[in-house]
Symmetry: D2
Subunit: 342 residues, 4 copies
């Protein structure tokens, strides 16, 4: 049994992590911290966990985190970089669901995240936790930077094209739509039901923190600089990301075959038959990315549709997938949830 | 392994049954029928089941239903009564998710359902599948009538009061709100997104088929006639029933204790602390009924709040719970889903 | 032209008031205050008002409120009672959309609202602004207490029965469902899209501030004490209240006729044909209450269905209706919006 | 007063047309036809119109359409082309909200719409009713082809760029998201609440009927062939289109100024300040298109955000705008609705 600790855990990635870990056969939940909710039973904050999770929130000081085999950070950006060094020092492995260790270029990270990095020396050691790209390095990683939700959907959708070198890398377009839970469990006006329901809007068109993360991944995959226009949208649903990707074909290729081959061994990436339109609910609650490939009217513009549940393959499910890899467990263990539909 | 057949299965209780059974460790899906979709892979109709359910729909004639240990009917009302006799004859046990065998009084059934019953002699043999009431009889049942969604939420909410004889049985009120999936996967105008979203309405105030079913259950539990006003409402969500129940206390009682004792051994009924307000999402996707008891301002009117997922404890989950009981399996086997929240 | 001032106006009743007043032919918007947003154009906060409302928010100190003919308070509870005395002194008439002047019994008000009343002497002068009850007194009122949203729907639904003395006044039940906008534009966690969407729950079963307001109105109408169980629910839609009311008939009556006669002269109350089920969208955006009367199975329990748009007939529309009455305008002026459906 | 007839009118564009026309000061509703609902009061089908629309549906044969000054077709594709010739013959002007007269190339129309055109000779006479392009021709038109919803949002968003010749016309991308009402009031499974709610998906990526319509308009505006990739998406809201448009700048230009100048005289197109993100609810219920222009990170890819209410500026509102122009009325008459928000 793996002894697991969670730092944070009062947000949506936290409760989703608890849902998944509470059903994982090789995990024992050992500690969870929240300064604000210390002393409260987790199940009192999240009634969905009643009778399934017995833990109480502890303060970070009291929580026996160093006794854990692995600690997940389900915290705002900037927390893990404060606490990870001591845990790693104590031999605890760390998976950060926030962005602290995602960007290799520390100066770039500091520009986008608006703070100074607390442990730049650890950034180089961190492994970017997209198993479909970095599985081998994750196996032995001590510190995993779990990818962002948009970056997961967008990278998995572009990777086969970018790796094969068949598209114009200078003009990629990612038009991405996210459910509101992607913005977290924060009491902000624009996230209110009465603001976000029966409404649709783009945001962050001038720049979004996931842009450099996606570009870094695609540039690494292609070995070349990448130009990406990325437009996120707030969609009136709780869960789900739908990325609609546009790329111009520069070399003839059987694109459907490219995708099928690239992901033939991947348990959590499902390439649909040509001409399909995946819907976000077909992955709701499951650690899955479903992808469909289109070439409308035989032109030179490819359209790739990539869907995930932002809280699962886009966050907590992928974090558990990384944990499974790190601890030599079957990659799918505890991740066999069938999507909830309707 | 239990060999399972499903008749119907193209509706919401069907896909939910498949989701649950596909993850059940003691079940092998053996056959599924749909005249309309015969030849189609189940996963092509329900992409959420891709790579998890390999079955194809067969016509009722071709399907090897008599080879099964148990057959679930996830069909419209009036189908199971046609096909169940032959299956029972062949030694197959039957669980009907529709209403054919729910009402013991055949004439009453015929009045409410507007058709003649095809096998009235079987009605008396059928066991009403509310395990919290009929567990022992279900164990040996050959034919189980799985309760309706409203009747499950309403009966579980009223039962402790009615059995204890502490409320005015002549004037019970059940104000029930259901998600739209409760109406099934039928292409009807009033169920369209553009009709049901951002909208709320009562329906069937003059009379609803679940009324006699609830009254039958409560009368049996109390040993007395019961007068019930039942008002269902269509709520702009997919899943969930919230029953708000009103009963006048006729004898002093510790009502909270009454509920806690009544359900202390029940795995799937969760009595919340006094003063709680269960939300429907706290049971989404799980075979659970959560109940809270209120006595506003210490008056004589009790308010009971009872929530279920209409497709799980209100239909397919309860059907699998019944199957577990019938086959001597642990009652919770394959039903350990933690609610999906948010 | 009536010179209108608004205090507050950054919430949902505020923007709705602006929508209605900006289209009112006899109104000139003269001032709007918000300490927090002072200096900002109203249309920058509410883009729906671009090119239709030119006003900027002012601080309360700078705003020329005393130049106005009438000032609306679209503020949290407790603000109007601070500022109304000076305005009334200056000859300005006041309509308070909050609760400061709704409850005649000041001690009762202070208990429910948890603060000391700042001008208890004005409470007696205030007229409760339900035009269908108090039209004559509103005409000459200097200070109008605009009713709450639930109290509007519930009182209009019960009034004909209570006035006629045909129901058991000791055991009324009001099961009310409100869209989320009824809770206001407050950044609170439980009002987030990801909390309130695809979810349904009761709240405040132990006691809600609208309870004494409803009881006060019904007791006045009947001339007797009234016992009411009132259960509000949070419904996953933005706008709309659906009140399902239960009352036991104590004397035979043609209930449908009772309702039709009671409201035959009312422009904003629509009694539907017997057996109807009004939906909330049939009043969305309009100053209307639609009511249907049921007597299920001819029993002695009546079921009344009453729907309003909580922001219009339940707040800002009713406030403008009151203004029309106070200033001798046609009661429907500027209130001819046809509901937006779908 | 203009005597107005409506053919069809049982769908969403029909009820929206009735909402707008019932409040139009220069219109008298004279006849409305529906074979299926003949004899039924319009307000019985659409309770939102109770007490505001007195008309009953007539059969097409009985309806006094030839007495009208103008007849709107709010019918499925293929109906107007059957009935328009006789009406035009009788001197009645016609506005078709469907697609029968939108595409000048009859063969192309027949290919996309899968039927033979009944009056190809009239296609050349029809004026495409996008007032921002064709205002002068609409004035004298006898037959107006009201644009589709997507084409309105997409064309208004691209027009300033295309007319100015500053973008790569061969590789335009329109990623468009529509509320479900855009699909009409048809009882189809994929439009059910339980299918479309809490879900997001693309559709018709291989080809959509609005593609040739958009291309025709943009080619006419630019005088050159246009290459467009158009991907529509079904969004879980009732009303609203959000078009996210991508175009590569080929010549330096002050794009914000370009848009502001192009639409400076347009009452129904609102160019937002640079850097804005219009939301669909900011136009809900109003005949408005709001547009924002972005050039992320100063690159060569422009992002244009264009929002409309698909039932108003995308259908019925635009139809009334056309009527106003045709009959010499102020273009904004009866179209002053302020968007309903929240």
């Amino acid at each position: 049994m793996i002894k697991v600790g969670i730092v944070g855990g009062t947000g949506y990635t936290g409760v989703e992590l608890l849902r998944i870990l509470a059903g994982h056969p090789e995990v024992r939940l050992h500690a969870i911290t929240s300064r604000k909710e210390a002393g409260m039973a987790v199940a009192d904050l999240f009634p969905s966990l009643r009778k399934r999770v017995q833990l109480k929130f502890s303060t970070p000081e009291e929580a026996p985190l160093t006794e854990c085999d692995v600690v997940f950070f389900a915290t705002p950006n900037g927390v893990a970089m404060q606490q990870a060094p001591a845990l790693l020092q104590a031999g605890v492995r760390v998976i950060d669901l926030a962005a602290d260790f995602r960007i290799a270029d520390v100066a770039l990270w500091e520009k986008w995240y608006g703070m100074q990095h607390a442990c730049p020396e650890l950034v180089a050691q961190a492994v970017y936790g997209l198993p479909e790209v970095n599985r081998d390095r994750i196996r032995s990683a001590r510190l995993v930077a779990n990818p962002g939700c948009y970056p997961t959907a967008v990278q998995l959708g572009f990777l086969p094209l970018v790796e094969a070198g068949v598209v114009d890398l200078a003009h990629l377009v990612a038009d991405a739509k996210s459910g509101v839970s992607g913005a977290g469990r924060k009491a902000e006006t624009h996230l209110l039901f009465s603001e976000a329901s029966e409404n649709f809007k783009a945001y962050g068109v001038q720049g979004h923190r996931h842009h450099p993360e996606i570009v870094q991944g695609l540039a690494a995959a292609s070995g070349q600089p990448v130009g990406l226009t990325f437009v996120p949208h707030l969609t009136p649903m709780v869960r789900g990301i739908h990325a609609t990707l546009y790329a111009r074909l520069t070399r003839e290729a059987d694109v459907q075959a490219l995708f099928e081959q690239r992901y033939s061994e991947e348990a959590f990436v499902d390439v649909l038959p040509a001409g399909s339109h995946p819907d976000t609910r077909s992955v709701r609650g499951a650690n899955l990315c479903r992808i469909a490939v289109h070439r409308p009217q035989g032109g030179d513009t490819l359209v790739i549709l990539s869907v995930i549940d932002n809280l699962v393959k886009g966050a907590s499910g992928q974090a558990v997938q990384n944990m499974n890899i790190m601890f030599g467990l079957p990659e799918t263990l505890g991740l066999a949830h069938i999507p909830l539909s309707p």
